[in-house]
């Protein structure tokens, strides 16, 4: 592999290897309860509670614009009452989890990378190690657990507010018959759509925390290093979310077909 050293492929593979090792270390630490529950609760507050306004606004306006766009296209073929069904399925299985994860990646992924990066350049990570504390136990695991708990909860909020907002726009503004709209929505959206959305959001929560922590812990020295780590945390976690979304959709939809859900 020496021929790859110094190239972007080599650096990319090295980064992938390191983040895999960090994930293994974090999962092993989480399973052996080497973390503090208090730290997890604080991170749930920071990642979950503090992200609500961003996620709610994003969910509401995504549901509203999706309802309007779907209505204008469906109206041409007299399928107005199917509008909310499309919005509901989209919000539950795709837009809810993906947009929530992207918003949380922007807010929380950047904050995690900046905080850990600053701790690294000011020797606070070394101080932790000298105090016989593993940085993975103290810094990574609480964020990983909190993120995998908080992102699904935020996703559910986003799904609900998106569907409610689309109902308000469709029924209140565009004049769709409420009874048919509601009935079609319940008929075409199933438990499987919600389950797919929730499974995706758990994975995205893990990606946001791991990429943010990895970028912070491995950032180069100086203010420029922290700035670069913060930017890369957002960019890489967003790209990873979008790429993994395709594969998760393919796998989960096939599983639904196989198990008849």
């Amino acid at each position: 592999m020496n021929f790859l050293s110094g190239t972007w492929v080599g650096e990319w593979l090295t980064g992938l290897g390191r983040i895999t090792l960090l994930s293994r270390e974090a999962i092993a630490s989480a399973l052996t309860f080497k973390f503090s529950r208090r730290d997890v609760l604080y991170q749930v507050y920071f990642i979950g509670i503090k992200s609500q306004s961003v996620v709610l606004v994003t969910g509401a306006f995504t549901g509203m614009v999706l309802a309007a766009q779907t209505y204008f296209q469906f109206h041409k073929v007299k399928m107005d009452t199917a509008t909310l069904a499309v919005v509901s399925v989209s919000m539950c299985s795709e837009l809810g989890p993906v947009l929530t994860a992207l918003m949380v990646a922007g807010r929380v992924g950047a904050a995690i990378a900046a905080e850990l990066g600053t701790m690294r350049v000011t020797e606070q990570i070394d101080a932790l190690r000298t105090l016989a504390t593993h940085p993975t136990d103290y810094l990574v695991v609480p964020r990983l657990i909190a993120s995998t708990l908080a992102v699904p909860l935020l996703t559910v909020e986003s799904m609900c507010i998106g569907i409610a907002a689309s109902y308000a726009v469709g029924v209140g503004l565009l004049g769709i018959d409420p009874a048919y709209a509601w009935w079609n929505m319940l008929k075409y959206s199933g438990d499987a759509d919600v389950m797919i959305g929730l499974i995706k959001s758990v994975v995205y929560g893990g990606i946001i925390a791991l990429v943010g922590c990895y970028k912070g812990l491995s950032c180069s020295v100086g203010a420029e290093g922290v700035g670069r780590a913060t930017t890369e945390a957002v960019v890489y976690s967003s790209i990873t979310i979008l790429i993994s979304n395709f594969f998760l959709t393919m796998v989960l939809e096939h599983l639904c077909i196989i198990f008849g859900l």
Binding site: M119, T122, E123, Q124, D126, A127, R129, T130, L131, A132, T133, H134, Y138
Partner: protein, 243 residues
């Protein structure tokens, strides 16, 4: 007992330490001196396992820490306390939370016991009543004292000081030196002080290691160092720039 044998370290193509060997007995107080950028802090970080050498061994009470992984090192690091050059206080915590960090992580004490130990540690470093301050509110000297309180609260066997007086005025530097001596004498710890302040090295060390050109150039008592006629030692002791 700390023993370093044949330690080598490079960063990329830049060698920093070459064949460094020495031994420090329990209870000794050693000053590591040398020019800025000469590898003193790098050597200190090898002693506590924060850096891995390219080759060589570091024995702490007979255990080779170079062969240990990060989790195994945690057990050995409980023997150490370290004071960083910039104090490295956790800026999201108060002084009390910083000082209590090691206790809360590793000892099962009640909050009252923790508070008592924190107050005692802060008393030891002459900072009583600062428990609720934030690190940002403290001066450089106070931050180093809090760093020392954090390092000694769980009564380690070895305390490492990375340039404890750098950036401080002579009066504060003097008080930090006195504090290092007080901690050494009260807690009977092994002290390793990295410094380029000769006055400080003379006061706190009963042994001096001088790093020069990546190697241990002198390993002697402070008196022998100050009396040395070796031109390299003389130049450093007298503080004379290259002609």
């Amino acid at each position: 007992m700390i023993e370093v044998r044949g330690l080598k370290k490079s960063f990329g193509s830049q060698p920093v330490l070459e064949d460094v060997s020495f031994r420090i007995e329990n209870g000794e107080s050693v000053a590591i001196i040398g020019r800025s950028g000469g590898g003193k802090s790098v050597l200190l970080k090898h002693i506590i396992g924060l850096l891995q050498p390219d080759s060589g061994t570091v024995l702490i009470d007979g255990e080779n820490i170079v062969a240990m992984n990060e989790r195994q090192l945690l057990r050995v690091r409980r023997k150490f306390g370290m004071v960083f050059q910039g104090a490295a206080l956790f800026d999201s915590m108060t002084v009390a939370e910083n000082v209590a960090f090691g206790l809360r992580r590793h000892e099962h004490l009640t909050e009252a016991e923790v508070a008592k130990r924190v107050a005692a540690a802060l008393d030891m470093v002459d900072l009583p009543g600062t428990e609720n301050k934030n690190p940002a509110e403290l001066s450089g000297g106070m931050r180093k004292r809090v760093g020392l309180a954090r390092a000694i609260i769980y009564e380690p066997q070895i305390v490492l000081y990375d340039e404890p007086t750098t950036g401080l005025d002579p009066i504060v530097s003097d008080s930090i030196d006195k504090l290092i001596i007080r901690v050494r004498d009260h807690l009977k710890v092994t002290s390793i002080v990295v410094t380029h302040d000769m006055r400080s090295a003379r006061r706190v060390g009963n042994h001096v290691l001088m790093l020069h050109e990546r190697k241990i150039h002198a390993n002697c008592t402070p008196e022998a160092l100050f009396a040395s006629t070796d031109p390299v030692v003389r130049q450093f002791v007298d503080g004379v720039a290259d002609p």
